[in-house]
């Protein structure tokens, strides 16, 4: 037996930062949540990988810090800093911390903002994310940076199947046309049950 994935991030990130000239980190410095967001750089595959590594590790090790940094930079004019802030907030939002800010993004025109917000709320038991996911069932635009690249309908499909006990033919549908064909049934379900739908904390699913 050996240790889990643990903390090679520290040295790794330090080297990353040094190599990118973005900080004076020594070999044992982990990027702060602030650095994880402001240093997010999509210029090449390695930088993208390192950027998500830093964000994910911050979300895991210091969710409060990342959430605070994310909230601070949510309105950043830099596209990538804003994206990192949205992503960081989506990974750290709680029912009492940051959910109001996330909810404001449910009507965003930016696809990443809208769907990351919907998925994040769905995951914390806030059903306001569900209609946004349902609305995306017929949308083929791709989210940014997903691996593999993921269109909106596929993201919504996965989230709805994961967080609800409903199907409406969605499980057997994988392409845009067939997934979109289930949308009316999902809309009907939401409209008929939106007041009674609740999050079951045991199953981690929404039920009516």
């Amino acid at each position: 037996m050996r240790a889990g994935l643990g903390g090679l991030l520290a040295g790794l990130t330090a080297l990353m930062l040094v190599s990118c000239g973005s900080g004076a980190a020594g070999p044992s410095v982990t990027p702060s949540p602030e650095q994880a967001i402001t240093g997010f750089d999509p210029s090449n595959a390695a930088a993208i990988q390192a950027g998500f590594l830093a964000l994910n590790q911050s979300a895991h090790d210091n969710p409060t810090g990342l959430r605070q940094a994310a909230l601070k930079h949510l309105g950043d004019s830099n596209t990538w800093v804003h994206y990192a802030a949205v992503y960081g907030l989506a990974l750290t939002v709680t029912p009492t911390q940051g959910s109001a800010e996330v909810a404001t993004m449910l009507s965003a025109t930016n696809l990443d903002d809208r769907l990351l917000a919907a998925g994040a709320l769905a995951g914390i038991g806030d059903k306001r994310g569900l209609p946004v996911l349902i609305a995306a069932l017929d949308q083929g635009d791709k989210l940014s940076f997903r691996d593999p690249p993921q269109p909106a309908y596929d993201f919504a499909r996965a989230e709805l199947l994961y967080f609800t006990t409903e199907d409406f033919g969605l499980r057997g549908s994988t392409d845009l046309a067939s997934v979109a064909a289930t949308k009316p049934a999902w809309l009907g379900w939401w409209q008929a049950n939106q007041s009674s739908i609740h999050f079951d904390t045991s199953s981690r699913k929404y039920a009516t």
Partner: protein
């Protein structure tokens, strides 16, 4: 939650080299110092190559896990395995070898991972970006030597195809797309010829992926028997009618000269045969490589060429036979050609 141990320090430089660019530390130079014991391995049994991927999933039993977390993850991985195997069963490597995959999953309840297993952190609820760490450019056997610690999967937004894709990384396959920043937005662009395939953004597992898996297994040090692939084209002319058969052959030559493989024949022109030749369809063939000749007792023969059919080597990598039979009212020719793949 996650533990840290000094052992990972060696691995750190390797991952870092891959992640932040080969400019600083050449990837190949680092591999020699890599920690041993990746979660990926390959083995061969006759003409079957098995690629095994051992996966530790961290961490079951947390407060946010759905009650069925364990079975959910296992079912997803097993479905991904089934899809890979179903596709690979139709995609022989070099025309000789059947590739199959075998995924093994352990759901960890603590943080300690096992030697010989890839360690994946699986988040049950957040909408994060799933990824597996590894060298940033090109397929690599790195996963045969190292685990992919620092990798994360986000269950709630994953489909089975996402599992298939991410486990593709665990088998050493690189992405077949690139993220590009265009006008302040990112677009994922498929590499030439790869659009719609699994390591791009699609679901198709094609011959290219099968061949790359086989190449990675071979590069990992797996010793494969000699593989010969080739064709047989037969033409039978009787009066005004011509019948034609095309067949492909993929055979493995063992160290003792025993030969075994698969014949797949199809009639390309039915001509005037009263009945289809017996050697249509796919069936196993066997024989020997003796005195620089392939000898196949069960292959289609002709009156002037009693079994076994003999296909002599014309070089160390090629064997050819041109068989002609003529009789009043008709003639038949059969051309055999075999090439050693990777010799």
């Amino acid at each position: 939650m996650r533990q840290r141990r000094p052992r990972r320090v060696a691995l750190l430089s390797v991952i870092t080299a891959g992640m932040i660019g080969s400019i600083l530390i050449p990837w190949a130079a680092q591999r020699a110092t890599a920690a041993s014991g990746g979660g990926t391995s390959a083995s061969a049994n006759g003409d079957t190559v098995t690629i095994a991927v051992n996966i530790d999933i961290c961490c079951g039993g947390t407060r946010r896990d759905p009650a069925n977390f364990d079975s959910l993850v296992r079912d997803d991985v097993m479905q991904a395995e089934a899809v890979w195997n179903q596709a690979l069963s139709r995609l022989p490597y070099k025309g000789c070898f059947s590739i199959r995959v075998a995924f093994s999953v352990h759901i960890l309840t603590g943080t300690a991972a096992e030697d010989g297993y890839h360690y994946l952190y699986v988040d049950p609820t957040e909408p994060g970006r799933s990824y597996v760490q590894g060298p940033p450019v090109g397929d690599s056997t790195w996963v045969y030597l190292n685990d992919v610690g620092q990798s994360s999967l986000f269950l709630a937004s994953m489909s089975i195809v996402t599992w298939e894709h991410e486990i593709g990384h665990l088998m050493g396959l690189q992405d077949d797309y690139q993220d590009q920043v265009v006008g302040g937005a990112t677009v994922s662009v498929a590499l030439p010829g790869r659009a719609g395939t699994l390591m791009d953004s699609g679901s198709s597992i094609d011959q290219n992926l099968a061949d790359r898996l086989g190449d990675l297994a071979a590069k990992s040090g797996l010793k494969l028997p000699g593989c010969w692939a080739g064709t047989m084209n037969e033409s039978l002319v009787v009066g005004p009618c011509t019948s034609s058969v095309h067949a492909t052959m993929g055979i493995v030559v063992k160290a003792d000269g025993a030969v075994a493989g698969t014949w797949t024949g199809s009639e390309t022109a039915p001509g005037c045969r009263s009945h289809a030749p017996f050697y249509l369809g796919s069936f196993p063939i066997s024989g020997n490589l003796v005195d620089r000749k392939f000898l196949f007792p069960s292959l289609p023969s002709m009156p002037d060429y009693p079994p076994p059919i003999s296909i002599p080597l014309v070089s160390s990598t090629s064997a050819v036979a041109h068989l002609v039979w003529s009789a009043p009212g008709g003639s038949q020719t059969s051309d055999f050609s075999l090439t050693c793949m990777g010799c």
